[in-house]
Symmetry: C2
Subunit: 437 residues, 2 copies
Amino acid sequence: MVIENFFRPRSIAIIGASNERSKVGYSLIKNLEKFKGKVFPINIKRKTIQGRKAFKSVLNVMENIDLTVIAIPAQFVKKSLEECGKKQIKAAIIISAGYSEIGNIKEEQELINLANKYKIRIMGPNCFGNVNPYINLDTSFSLSMPQKGEIAFIAQSGALWISLVEYSLNKFGFSGYASLGNMIDVDFADCIEYFNKDKNTKVILCYIEALKDGRKFLNSCKKSEKPIVVVKVGKSDAGAKAALSHTGALAGSYEIYKAAFKQSNVILADTLTEALDKSLLLTQQNIRGNKVVIITNGGGTGVLTADLCGIKNLNVIQLQKIIKSLNKFLPEDWSHNNPIDIVGSSSHKEYKNVFNILLKNKSIFDFALVILNQQKMINIEKVAQEIINFRKKSKKGIVAILIGGKEIKKAEDLLNKHKIPNFFDIDRAVNTLKGLN
Amino acid sequence: MVIENFFRPRSIAIIGASNERSKVGYSLIKNLEKFKGKVFPINIKRKTIQGRKAFKSVLNVMENIDLTVIAIPAQFVKKSLEECGKKQIKAAIIISAGYSEIGNIKEEQELINLANKYKIRIMGPNCFGNVNPYINLDTSFSLSMPQKGEIAFIAQSGALWISLVEYSLNKFGFSGYASLGNMIDVDFADCIEYFNKDKNTKVILCYIEALKDGRKFLNSCKKSEKPIVVVKVGKSDAGAKAALSHTGALAGSYEIYKAAFKQSNVILADTLTEALDKSLLLTQQNIRGNKVVIITNGGGTGVLTADLCGIKNLNVIQLQKIIKSLNKFLPEDWSHNNPIDIVGSSSHKEYKNVFNILLKNKSIFDFALVILNQQKMINIEKVAQEIINFRKKSKKGIVAILIGGKEIKKAEDLLNKHKIPNFFDIDRAVNTLKGLN
């Protein structure tokens, strides 16, 4: 499968490799410093690039080339691509811009014709390269290599990737990244198929401006054994217009996309934050469903959370079956209802008691939203520990809402260590769980 | 006006004052340590409470008492309230629970009758006290006094307050807090009227489960010269049910509330986070409107932001008038559209150029959403400085979206110092600005 050439190449040619720090071709070589395969800088004028032997053309390289990255002004791309064809290179990433995104349809068609003629698969043009941290492959001009992780990110955007990687450092990692740009050939479906087979990937996250071949995309999603989380723009006219001038994408009717996604097992997120939160959750907890139980030591936060759950079509379950058991272990003025408000005077013991009752009635819920409001009497770390034990024993989806000051930090660290998502924002927590059924 | 007795008392009696650390009455005395008025602990058995002289009843206090706080078991409240009446105390906060929230309607009515008989205004029962950091008044049993600030918080919730204060420390402050509990007398309208006159308050934030007298509330909002931000539960059945068991509140139809709020100049927030973000923004920037211009150095984040703005009824304005001016100062491949995508290769200078053009065309927009994706070439602090200058000169609403790693921190600090809200989450930024027209 040629797509492997993009993500697991043994040799790469960089067309437009440069010694000038301000050029993209400089970063491209620099970012491959730790790549274990071979790197061939292609530069028409220089004999060496950043200490590596340079070549005038891919045709001058005597060895096999799995992947080429093209980062030269658009008017020179055709000639280079033709040479790649003659060299029988099977995969080309075209970073160069100046095609359909600014109305140059004809030039873009010429790239397609060349690709067909020489049977080269193309990622781009107007794209941002790709990344595989497991082999130190970075054909983007990002600032940092992401941590090795389990989320594959496929996107019609580049700058987003750079800043997202910086944000993710010391928080979470990626299994790979592909920037599709104007998407004249390699598309979401191709990458989904690849990441579905990739053993490092657990969740596939897509940022979509528009799909060119909707059917192909949906088929790849239906076939995928891994969760596919999608954030799709074009919900509003303003977004659709913006997408058009970004990658020349026709965003299309969001409602139609939504219906099609639902039938194809795609998990749709409304925002980038929600998409990231959902992806992380799904790498950590293999969960689906919509039956939620809320446990809180604060009435107001419980009410707010239940209210949002209701709006977002989560089923705030009835507790009839377990009310009597809860009565035995909770203060008289507990809420007698879901949210299970154990009231502010409770300690980690009441949390534990509730968890134990839920463990005996695992069929009634899919997720637990556990809310901790910092209070005088409570040992926050002990509550965190009880949440961790509950997750271990129940295998259910657990998301925590922690509201408080710096004392909350230790609980956050503990929960993070045990891969239990936790938020200050009630809406982030609820959005993470919504729509997973 | 008696409501002043609640927020600016010169003397307070604490009925149920205690030496036992586990009792609410202990915290109440403790939290008044720095209060500059007089504090009279009332305890039927003890002669001193935490070193202060204690009294058997308010009737034994020979001095005037502006405010009494009652924190004893419900069965003893009536007798104490009667004594407060005889002492001619005008304001009572009843923290004791066990009334309508658990179905004890009759007992609650008896409190109302007593209040009417003696003309005592009551906050509560089942409430959490109140706070005025400007005079070190804290009749709640919170962990910390909040920083002095400009947001007044009126709520039908207590635990939320404790944890929110902890969260707010070193971030923002409050001008006051009132917990209304079952709200048999003092209500949102009374507090809004008070805070509207309070010189420390700039914005009034209400967490509402239900209103008993909608007309009175809406009138107080219409009369208010200060923005009133409301987060109202009961959007879903699950939320309405939860509110009922929390404070006995009948949440009512959210749509009816929504329509009424709109007519009364209330700013409605969908979530607690949004309500806080909006309140903070409105203490910092006196802005209204819905015309938004988006400036970004990343296409994808620009598209996502525009898309959300469209959904949230913000007007992503057309740029016809200034396209030519922008062409002069931006790279050829800028988006030629709103979002103004200055593309990833731009520096703080391009941001500045765009800001300068907007300054000359101030009438076309109400808000600017300035997005900064961390990139190789960009000096993040310099961009932050340009944003600050732009805010100073334009007086328009400015919210920043910063996406990146630890290098972002300095820009965050700089923007915070100059009271420019900034977020990683695109949705938080957009939600902060939505619905301010």
